[in-house]
Homo-oligomer: 363 residues x 2
């Protein structure tokens, strides 16, 4: 039988994903009264809210109370020490994209504190950090779950883990891993019709909030490369870093040095001809920005590819992601997962689902 000690939850980050997560956690705590889910710590990079007797922070008012707090966050090792002394099991929910927080996971896990996070940095940084994280988890039994690090709430990591853990052999993983890139190419190179100008589509994507504040942070392909790194490692390839395989950047060389995203967008139209030539040379096929992992040849790459209009990758809509798993058991027809791969609510959903899985194991 499950124990009835409370589970102590420390949340780092209170931005878009963090706020959605807190709202989901509040509802979860109502639906699952046992074990009690006690928010004992919440912090941003500048402020923290907690007290030394681990009393529960009201989930309704946590964000406002944090804004009014005069405490600064303790160091991460001090946070770990604080949590190890809690009168029950503790879980860190890291809703940041901070490398510093990610670097502290091994310390937390070694101390028996589980980690749940959408933070890609922990799993796509150095291979050494990856090894440290999973070795620390194996040694202490503390759990680490990161579904939302690829495809937000879509069942991508869990599906890949199930395939691997049940003994299937992954042959290839291929897909569209960026909502921004999906939106851009579905508009620029649609399966029917000629599509818009590249620079216009980039501007539209920015206006609709589909890009980072500086669109180059999407167009450089690094976000996709990080996700590929995570999946390749889970499939058994010891990929050293997201820069250790070919990644095609869609930022023209001449615009890499622009001092701002605005300057970049202003100068982008003079490169529309280059992108149009690529679109035309695809012929009856369409251009898509994809990532792929060929496990047998250990070939990982990110960049433009062409697909028949009837291919599921070409037929994607809006800003959806699609991830195809080719395995020995599934044969030539892939196991495919598709849907929104970004957004506060669906990213937080992956975090909350992971939290439930951890609670089910440690309670």
């Amino acid at each position: 039988m499950a124990s009835t000690s409370p589970i102590f939850i420390a949340v780092i980050g209170a931005g878009g994903v963090g706020k959605c997560f807190l709202s989901q956690l509040r509802d979860l705590a109502v639906r699952r009264p046992s074990p009690k889910l006690s928010l004992c710590y919440i912090a941003t990079s500048r402020k923290a809210l907690y007290d030394n007797d681990y009393s529960s922070i009201d989930l309704e008012t946590a964000v406002d109370a944090l804004a009014k707090s005069s405490k600064t966050p303790p160091s991460l090792p001090d946070l770990v020490t604080y949590l190890t002394k809690a009168p029950g099991k503790a879980i860190i929910v890291d809703n940041t994209s901070s490398q510093d927080v990610a670097d502290a996971y091994p310390t937390a896990l070694k101390a028996g504190i589980s980690v749940v996070t959408p933070n890609k940095k922990a799993f796509s940084g150095s291979y050494k950090l990856w090894q440290d994280i999973f070795q620390a988890s194996a040694a202490s039994g503390a759990k680490v779950y990161h579904e939302s690090s690829v495809g937000a709430g879509l069942p991508v990591i869990s599906t890949l883990k199930d395939l691997v853990e049940t003994g299937d052999e992954i042959t290839k993983i291929e897909g569209v891993f960026s909502g921004t890139m999906s939106f851009l190419f579905n508009s620029f190179a649609p399966t029917s019709g000629s599509g818009g100008k590249w620079s216009d589509e980039v501007k539209k994507a920015k206006e609709l909030g589909y890009t980072e504040p500086d669109p180059r942070d999407d167009l450089n392909g690094l976000d996709v490369a990080r996700k590929l790194t995570i999946l390749a490692r889970l499939a058994g390839l010891p990929v050293e870093s997201p820069t250790s395989f070919p990644v095609e950047s869609l930022i023209p060389k001449e615009l890499e040095s622009c001092s701002s995203g605005d300057e970049f967008l202003e100068k982008l139209p003079s490169f529309d001809k280059q992108m149009d030539e690529k679109k035309v040379s695809a012929g009856s096929k369409v251009l898509r920005f994809v990532g792929s992992i060929d496990v047998a040849t250990k070939n990982v790459k990110v960049g433009l590819e062409t697909f028949e209009p009837s291919h599921p990758i070409a037929a994607l809509k809006g800003s959806d992601n699609i991830i195809s798993f080719y395995t020995k058991r599934y044969g030539s027809n892939a196991l495919i997962v598709q849907g929104a791969g970004a957004g506060g609510d669906v990213t937080a959903m992956g975090v909350t689902a992971d939290l439930i899985k951890v609670i089910n194991q440690i309670a």
Copy 2:
């Protein structure tokens, strides 16, 4: 930390799925030496292999040894009693499609024995049995997992549970839930070209092993209705049974009374004109055999629908399943899972993945 007591596993069923599962279990036991996975019981409906001191049955030779066993299976209550006395936690893996075995789940769960199964009967029979199963699990803490009861190893049940448990609102579930129906309509009404004759496609599907021995067991729609019942209940609708909502049968009334599948196939060509008329009346759209659950209107139905050729349901290949979850968080673009939804290896994979999840929680 996880305890190191062995986990005692009782397997019922040694047919296609059962044999694939035993092979996966053997590999799993090697990859995960702790906790020890001890097969202490294996049975078909006629034979059983076990002994009173719960010694481990060799996974390499279990099927052969079972064939040579002279023991008949104990009653299911006696099996439960046997397992409750095992020196460690026990899990029943039911790889049958037996209603009798399904009816015993509440007894097993009440006694603290977890259940893992692809058996649809337990979850799509009477609503009373469904309630008894989950109430028994909640009361004792024993787990019940049944991923492969819908879509074999595809992440369908787990995804729906994650959506519901994290507080998303399911608005609609729609898809192709039968590999047989998928194959038949992808050939009979392809997105390009005119497709074959209905009776020829049914014969071809039978020859390729895509249908039950009597194809009417696929064409009556009951298999799809059972899967819809399971998903509807998980989405919160108290569906009474798989016959309590409209299910379109593709067996002509006149052929319901055929004494054999062979007689049925012989007489089927005279009904090709009926099916051709349906195909023609779909116009530029294509016919597909789908199930859908509209949660708001509580409308569950199974039958023929028409789809634009570019719709993901129309574009399906081979005998793949596709399941679309429309939810409040995912908005108008569904979360889609697609791939092979039948076959021994992928069905067993769902069972093995569930077994790992249960072990992670009870060890």
